[in-house]
Subunit: 218 residues, 2 copies
């Protein structure tokens, strides 16, 4: 009675001691914006400024952050360095995660050479492909390894994160191997939905979603 539906859903998550995944999904966006502000030489920001830059209400930002602690003071705002550090801890990117890349085609090459991972908590440490013409070839600073060695390598190194840059037709088959070998987070570039067991997370890079978001305004 009188409780707004989103509040209700959140109360439900809170009762279970969990924060809704939609809120978790916003934290990396806050962290990225704080990084930009820091690069501009700024030390202090406010939920108002963050909100204006991100198109999110300041109240939403304060509420999201309040799930994790007290990061700012009324009237003085947030210390950018401190809040960034806290968000990195919460998101567990206060360390560097080894990432295995599967697929050494054009996209694999682009990802292996991508400059955006530096300092963000991720390092591509190995790349695999099943194409004999690619295996053994250099890809950036790595050498393409044979996909059949994936299970052994994942188990040996304890890798938890994979980036999937294989054709759509191969994506589910590769996913099954990854999950069976111990991968728990998959970033999927193939235009196909992956079936994974509970406890394994998948995020999709789908340019169509972003393009359709923009055509609304055209």
């Amino acid at each position: 009675m009188g409780m707004h539906l989103e509040e209700c859903e959140e109360a439900c998550f809170m009762a279970k001691g969990k924060v809704s995944d939609i809120i978790i999904g916003r934290l990396p966006i806050y962290l990225r914006e704080l990084t930009y502000l820091a690069e501009e030489g700024r030390e202090i920001t406010s939920s108002q400024e963050l909100g204006d830059r991100l198109g999110i209400s300041s109240a939403q930002i304060r509420k999201d952050l309040s799930h994790f602690g007290e990061f700012g003071k009324q009237g003085t705002g947030y210390h950018i360095g401190f809040l960034s550090e806290k968000l990195r801890e919460i998101l567990k990117v206060d360390r560097v995660w080894d990432v295995v890349l599967v697929g050494a085609g054009y996209l694999g090459h682009a990802l292996a050479n991508y400059g955006g991972f530096i300092g963000k908590g991720f390092n591509i440490v190995a790349v695999f492909d099943n194409d004999p013409a690619k295996i053994g070839q250099p890809l950036g600073r790595l050498i393409v390894q044979d996909s059949k060695d994936l299970p052994k390598a994942i188990k040996e190194h304890g890798w938890k994160i994979a980036i999937l840059a294989v054709p759509a037709s191969a994506a589910q088959e590769v996913t099954d191997v990854l999950v069976e070998s111990g991968i728990r987070a998959i970033l999927n570039y193939a235009p196909v939905i992956l079936n994974v067991p509970p406890g394994v997370r998948v995020q999709y890079i789908d340019p169509v979603i972003d393009l359709q978001h923009m055509t609304y305004y055209l």
Copy 2:
């Protein structure tokens, strides 16, 4: 008094005759899920089922859709074909948009060969690069054109949408040319924030955001 903050923000948008961008951003995700359901041979769905599949509350989905009309009936749910058609109209992807691709490196190659655009409202019709070694070379079914011809081509064809697959160091410079020539929507793969004038939209493909979203759970 008694009005929830998100309701307040929405009321504000409604008063201006606008729907919040966060809601617009969810519509392509609904459309994609409806497409999957249709591919499974389904004809009817519910906000409950959509919500379960997407990790969004059913109330949120009903509320989002209610901004655009009456698409379902209490108790009988949504007709997938009808709702998909309506969402395509709202998002303006009931047509096919010509898209110009800038950058013919590894990422450009991957995008030109990407199967995920088919039937989603987008068609890459031209690709440009400033590298003499690439200009004139085939890329998928296209031939790489010289970037210096971009302004003329954009104006001539009236292209409104561009995909930016150039190095971070070149992204802003290329963006300025695109915007000046008439591009109004840019999908940017470079790890850099673009400055654009009002009326031009930019969406970012940033794998770090998705990876950090998942590490929270590891």
